[in-house]
Symmetry: C6
Subunit: 265 residues, 6 copies
């Protein structure tokens, strides 16, 4: 099995917001299953890519969803002209050959997915392939990482305590203003001063969460806006297109976001 497509060969840009790199390294040293908690677009996926690059391990990422079955993770028998043969799923590939397996938005997964990872996340570190009659011991390099956005718990989906308890956790948030300004300037190519104004807009939008906005403007949206401005579009148009138009359909909330833009430009 060739894991090279899963190796990250160039350093993914990541600007630390605390000592999360050291904490991850300690967790990886003991192969503790790790949960990354935090809002959308704050950098969790980028962080795990950065850590995979830093540790020199292949990374297999799976976006969880309610239509993904246990077989999609673990594998299945496929019919061939020579009969059926077993096909490892991506989780099994990671367990067998020693990759970091990253289950993005674990809370979206169905129960059969979350239950599959239980024997991988306690002292056993095994993956039973029931249909194949094999008990797979995890490769020493294997680690399981999941991401989780606590802001969605209102949607009725929650992690079961018996799953939560299997993970050490790192909490993420949008970076501090100065750091976020650096990131926006670096990734979009605009001036730091202009980046700071965009970050200020984002901060104001995040405060609207108390008034009912589901999520504020993310770092990723700031980078989109900066890119368009750098490309020559007027800042106001760029901000509306990249930051506020997609964010809400509520007329009141849209007006509040518009007012923030009014104040900024």
């Amino acid at each position: 099995m060739d894991l090279s497509p899963y190796r990250i060969t160039t350093e993914p840009y990541y600007h630390p917001t605390g000592h999360e790199i050291a904490l991850y390294e300690h967790a990886y040293a003991h192969r503790l299953p790790l949960m990354l908690k935090g809002p959308t677009g704050c950098g969790k996926t980028r962080f795990v890519e950065h850590m995979a690059w830093r540790l020199g391990k292949p990374l297999i990422t799976l976006a969880c969803n309610e239509d993904m079955t246990a077989a999609d993770l673990v594998g299945r028998y496929l019919l061939d002209t020579d009969g059926t043969h077993w096909h490892d799923g991506p989780l099994t590939t990671a367990v067998r050959h020693g990759a970091i397996c990253y289950l993005d938005e674990i809370v979206e997964a169905r129960q059969d997915t979350t239950v599959v990872i239980h024997p991988l996340t306690d002292g056993r570190r095994i993956l039973p392939l029931d249909k194949k009659g094999e008990i797979l011991k995890a490769h020493p390099d294997f680690q399981l990482v999941v991401s989780y956005n606590p802001g969605y718990q209102s949607h009725g989906k929650q992690l079961k305590p018996s799953t939560r308890q299997r993970f050490a956790a790192l909490e993420f948030d949008y970076p501090e203003a100065a750091v976020e300004t650096d990131i926006v300037a670096h990734e979009s190519g605009i001036e730091r001063s202009l980046a700071a104004r965009l970050v200020d807009i984002a901060h104001k939008s995040r405060r609207l969460r108390e008034r009912g906005l589901e999520e504020g403007i993310s770092t990723r949206m700031l980078i989109y806006a900066g890119t368009l401005i750098h490309d020559g579009l007027p800042p106001r148009d760029s901000c509306r297109m990249a930051m506020t138009a997609a964010l809400t359909d509520e007329p009141d909330m849209a007006q509040a976001l518009e007012a923030i833009l009014d104040a900024a430009f």
Copy 2:
């Protein structure tokens, strides 16, 4: 793979209502994922066809619905006399060969569809084909465009914030009266003065939304009515058949629409 069936060879008629063509070109220059927001029949699909023609890129359109699976988008193994072989889905075709992929009415899709596009809409621009064990890097020409009708959010379906935040957005509405009149006259062949009367009826119907009509008369319906009038049908019959009879089943609302026709002819 021959993308020529997806190429648009004759210019689709599109009458701009603002500088949306320039905004789209900026977004395409950076391959920003783009969301087109607006009511039914206001020209979003025509716009993306026009832009694909203008940019000279093939366009693969998919109407989202709750019965479409991730495999319908990404592809699957098909059984053949020579065993199974992989068959790229339409999204994969667009990603691999560099088309614009347009997901119409994204909000109707199931979670596994919307989650599939996540790694295509951040810095990674990849499409993991988990079942095939391939991580597909997007072709430089690939862009993802989705459409979204915010007026439907009352039906209980909404885009998750983690999906919304991945898109820059362009907001559409029915064109201004003068522009809409031009369009109706151009497409149906009737006089501008008659087209203006039809547009006036549409405007009055759209105001009925405040009284509970789900959507007003669209530009497309005006063109239907104009076509029938141009063909010799009496205007009143044409308007009832093409504009009001299909629009509602509520007796009150039907009467209100009838009254608008009474006033017009």
Copy 3:
């Protein structure tokens, strides 16, 4: 592909109630998608058969239901001893070879069905066969017709505005008394005077809708009753068997219908 089984070779009896034949011909001239609205058993299906015969076009009829998939309409790959080959569904057959495709009771269909018809019902007139990688341009003779019973909207199923707006509409109702009398006499063979008494019963039953009867006695039921009377059964027995016994299970409503029969015979 041989469409001859779908050709209607003998004129289906149809008694016009207005100028609906001319309106249909105008709509067909421009291949406008057409919606036939009206109550059960008032003659919508017969009308579209009559028009297909009159226009000399093959007619492919599909009864929509919530278990019909998009593949049932569009087609699928079937496994053969020579491997898989594509099998056009009935909608695709109509689009490719130029039939009128009639989707009966469109509101019963699932979303993936109604979404499939969208690109056939705007300026594009195409049917994308995503699984086959083919974009099928509609044959010049192809027209889409749907039927819709607005009386059922209380059952929670409605057409989405984005679907409604794609259709010109013809409204049907039970024919006027004199016309309905002609139809019943013609189809059952009874005297016109007796037919008039049956039609009078039907009219009284339809007024019960205000008191909660879901639908009144249809023209079809009158023809059944007339047929039994013509065959020698007593009128009262014939009316109970063919008109009232099937119509309701509510004791109050059954008694009201019985009282109407009492008054008639």
Copy 4:
């Protein structure tokens, strides 16, 4: 196709309660679709068997249920060593070769089943085999009969008006006391006087429906009890075992039934 397994060669015992045999014959003469309405165990199935024997037509009976698909009725392609071939379902067999098709408890069927019978129950008398591309004209001997228990409508399942209106209907009830006594005596072998006492118990139980019993003791249960008594079991034991023990789990209702037995023996 050999329909002989579906032919009824010995006369099924049926005791008419009115002129339902003549009414059925008239309906069959015109092949009117027929609905048999009435409570459980009152003889609807026996009646249709009797009529099939009397008319000398094969009878194909299908018990409707919510897990029966349209393909179960109409047929499907089956995979063989020689590739796929079409396999007529039981409804198609009846339509093609001229049997009476009896859909027992039609209200339990899913929508795709009830919709399938629509074109068989109007002037067309056709069964479109969409997947096979065949439009099957009904054999002249084919008739569709359905049964329906109106007492269940409280369970939330109802026939759609558009289905009801396609049927002439015969209403059934438990036979009158004298007739029911004859039937019980004839089928179980007990004396007429004893049979009369059993029938009296049944009548009292049926009055409990007003107090909440879902259904009273049916004719079939009376025959069971008579059979056990004739076999030497004490009447009280026979009645409890065959008539009351199965009927309810409510302590109050069980006590009321017990009191009826107390009074009888």
Copy 5:
């Protein structure tokens, strides 16, 4: 077909609580469909095994559940290297070759299962194999027996009256104290006096049903406890482990059960 695995060759221990053996024999003599009603663990399954042994008939037992399909009962076509061939399901095996078929917990079955047994439980005694085009007449030895726990009706699942009415019924309960003591002593090997104390605990627990305990301690649990005591475990530990620990999770109820044990030892 070899039914020998379904034959019971050694007498299953069964202690009658009334004349249920004679009642069963009368029912079997006429092959009346039989329903065994009673609480969990009171001996219904053992009784039917005993009767099958006594009558010298093979017994095919099926535990009903909501995931069991009609095909699981009746049979299906299986694909082979020589094409497809029909495979009788366990119910079909019983009907064809003359076994007693015992459907345990019939109320858990889905509708398609309960409907399948209808033509087997009236005068027809047939099993239509629709997919195979065969109408199977029941073997003279075939009898259908179902079990049913009326205590569960609160879970929203009930037998339809049209199913109930097809069965004669035998009512079961836990045996009287003296009989139950005999059974516990016989099966576990403990002294009769000790067995009597266990039975007394069970009786007290069953009275807790009025206070909300779902079911009291069953005979089977008493035998477990007796077995552990006979094996040398202290009675208190044995009773907690085998009788009370599994029975409830409610702290109040657990305390009440504990108090019963306190009083006993």
Copy 6:
């Protein structure tokens, strides 16, 4: 069949909290089905592994979930180039060859799973393989063990009484402070005094259950924290990462946990 992958060759560390080892051995001596009740992460899985090692029996563990079918447990026919052949599922393997079968979190299983085990857990000790037509007598070494967390019953899932009553039960809880301290020190390598401080934090967190925390800090989480501390991470960081960050998303509860850490370090 080679069960050696299921044999446990090195003693799993287990610190008894009472005489549960003796109780298990008595239950195993009579092959009583056993239910292990207790909260997440208190050592139930470790205990059953320890007992399998102690008794020298292979152990087949299955994590129950609502997407696991009866066929996943029992087995199925698989298609091969030589036709179909039967493939024993993991439960069948345990029953046929004599392993302990451990169904983890039985309450998560669907009904068809729990019903499958019924004939294995009464006097019959059989597993009917209906699809294969085999009645499998359990190997003398076979025992069924299930785990069950009563704290979850609020999630609407409960074991049916008819399932509960088939098991003897052992109740587990987190170990007493001294024992838990020993375990944490032994498994993580930290000093006993530091381990005691961690255990004290866990005890305080468990008391928060009365204030709404779903579950307190488990022994497993204490070991994670101890491991990180032993590795050089500051205790406070280690405790947040391994013990509190994953446990809750409620701001109030998170603050309460933080206050416990404040008091400890």
